[in-house]
Amino acid sequence: MIDIIDLRKRYGNLEVLKGITNTIHEGEKVAIIGPSGSGKSTFLRCLNCLEDPTSGQIIFEGVNIADMKVDINIHRRHIGMVFQQFNLFNNKTVIDNIMLAPLHIKISELRKKKIKNFFIKLRNVFTPDKKPLYEINTTKAQIKEEVRANAMRLLKRIGLEDKANAFPSTLSGGQKQRIAIIRALAMNPKVMLFDEPTSALDPEMVGEVLDLIKQLADEGMTMVIVTHEMGFAREVATRVLFMDEGMIVEENTPEEIFNNPRNPRTKEFLSKVL
């Protein structure tokens, strides 16, 4: 699903990612662990080009999205991302947070079709061979209704439908993060990236967020999770990557990594955190 080929990232003179090659397969749940500053977040953010790689390729569905010439916005729609700090849009209600991107994208597609049809019609007036128009079988209002219904369905799923019209500032951290997750889901992503989704939460709210992520995992969502929750990584991940100093030092199944780490740096790290 995602092929990462010799990915490098530097900030000035600091090389943060030193040549990472890996493949995220469909259905996998990959956990990334490692010490602070080892480049986990940078790696994850390169996967949807939130950070532009300095060199290397990110092949997502056959397209190298690290290439500056591709329209990254189209590909990002299929890669959900969840941040440590939730990053709900503060100026929008919960339901508008969820609806913003799907609604904007669907409506601008409709608008584009209408504009194209206008030019085809114009052309058809002057030329004998008539070109067919693009089919338009929805209206703006219908699209809005659909997107809203889907957003409400997702809100119901996490039991927060009564918060639809609330602003993010009135919610708890756990609620914010669960809404951030379904905001990403509203785009029907093929893969989800999580960057320490529970690190900014009060301990009593960690469970509700991990439960939701676990549900998604059980439904077969492909996911890459940077996490400090070793128990969660062990339980949910199908593969664990241990990163240190900008490289993947060791990767294996959770059982092997946690019970039988091979690399001395992995051993040292795990002995500190477990």
């Binding site: 949807n48 939130l50 500056m68 916005n73 189209i74 590909h75 990002r76 729609r77 890669i79 959900g80 991302m81 941040f83 700090q85 990053n87 709900l88 849009f89 503060n90 100026n91 929008k92 913003l100 991107a101 904007h104 994208i105 602003f167 500032s169 009135t170 951030a180 905001r183 990403a184 785009m187």
Partner: protein, 236 residues
């Protein structure tokens, strides 16, 4: 003092009985029109410049645009607005063959002028928005422009509303020079009353009072706005 009472009488005659007040109303209307529409144009221009200033500069086009904007801002902040008015009215527009009522020239020049100031205000407003907001919008596949317009700029505007209110006050005060290019503002109205009654003391006093009341009323509105905004932020 009896002298002053006489002056008020003369003024009142001119103001009320000889319909001087219609001129004052026109002047007030022009002043507010130039300041309001000027600020609106300024906000649009300023927002565009501020967004160009924060676009990542990998490509050439944003770099060129940014340099042009910097030049524009430097030009309009670096010269007195009277000079800008005179130059546009007597040099730029005639050379371009454009004929326009002087009030409209004033609106344009004040728009361009406040655009330069608003761009700085807006830029600091955009900088004050958490970068995570833009990242989250980009991460769901919205373009840079759409993310700015739908997520970042609305939050930036909220942060700078009080400062924009002050810019509006500054504009109202600065419009008092529009008579240089023949636009009829408050000064023109009271000057008319003064000239026709050979008596300037009371007219200019009343003019000053009108400006003071205007500015104080807007300052009050800004303060009320500020307070209600702070209230809505309290949950954070």
């Amino acid at each position: 003092m009896g002298n002053f009472g006489k002056k008020i009488e003369v003024f009142w005659k001119m103001f009320y009985e000889s319909n001087g007040y219609t001129k004052v109303l026109t002047g007030l209307q022009n002043t507010m029109y130039i300041a309001t529409v000027g600020l609106a144009i300024g906000i649009v221009i300023g927002t565009i410049i501020a967004i160009i200033a924060v676009i990542p500069k990998y490509k050439r086009l944003p770099r060129i645009l940014d340099r042009f904007c910097k030049f524009y801002v430097g030009l309009f902040r670096g010269t007195p607005v009277v000079v800008q008015l005179l130059v546009f009215y007597y040099v730029v527009f005639p050379l371009m063959g454009v004929k326009m009522p002087s009030v409209n020239v004033c609106v344009l020049v004040f728009g361009l002028n406040s655009g330069a100031y608003v761009s700085e205000i807006m830029r600091s407003g955009i900088m004050s928005v958490d970068p995570g907001q833009l990242e989250a919008a980009r991460a769901v596949g919205l373009s840079f422009g759409v993310s700015m317009m739908k997520v970042v700029v609305p939050q930036a505007v909220k942060n700078i509303l009080p400062t924009l209110g002050n810019e509006f006050i500054a504009l109202i005060k600065e419009t008092s020079v529009v008579s240089f290019v023949g636009a009829a503002d408050l000064y023109v109205a009271f000057n008319y009353i003064g000239t026709n009654s050979y008596e300037f003391m009371v007219p200019y006093l009343v003019m000053a009072l009108i400006y003071i009341v205007l500015v104080m009323a807007i300052a009050l509105l800004v303060r009320i706005m500020e307070r209600s905004l702070r209230k809505s932020d309290r949950h954070n």
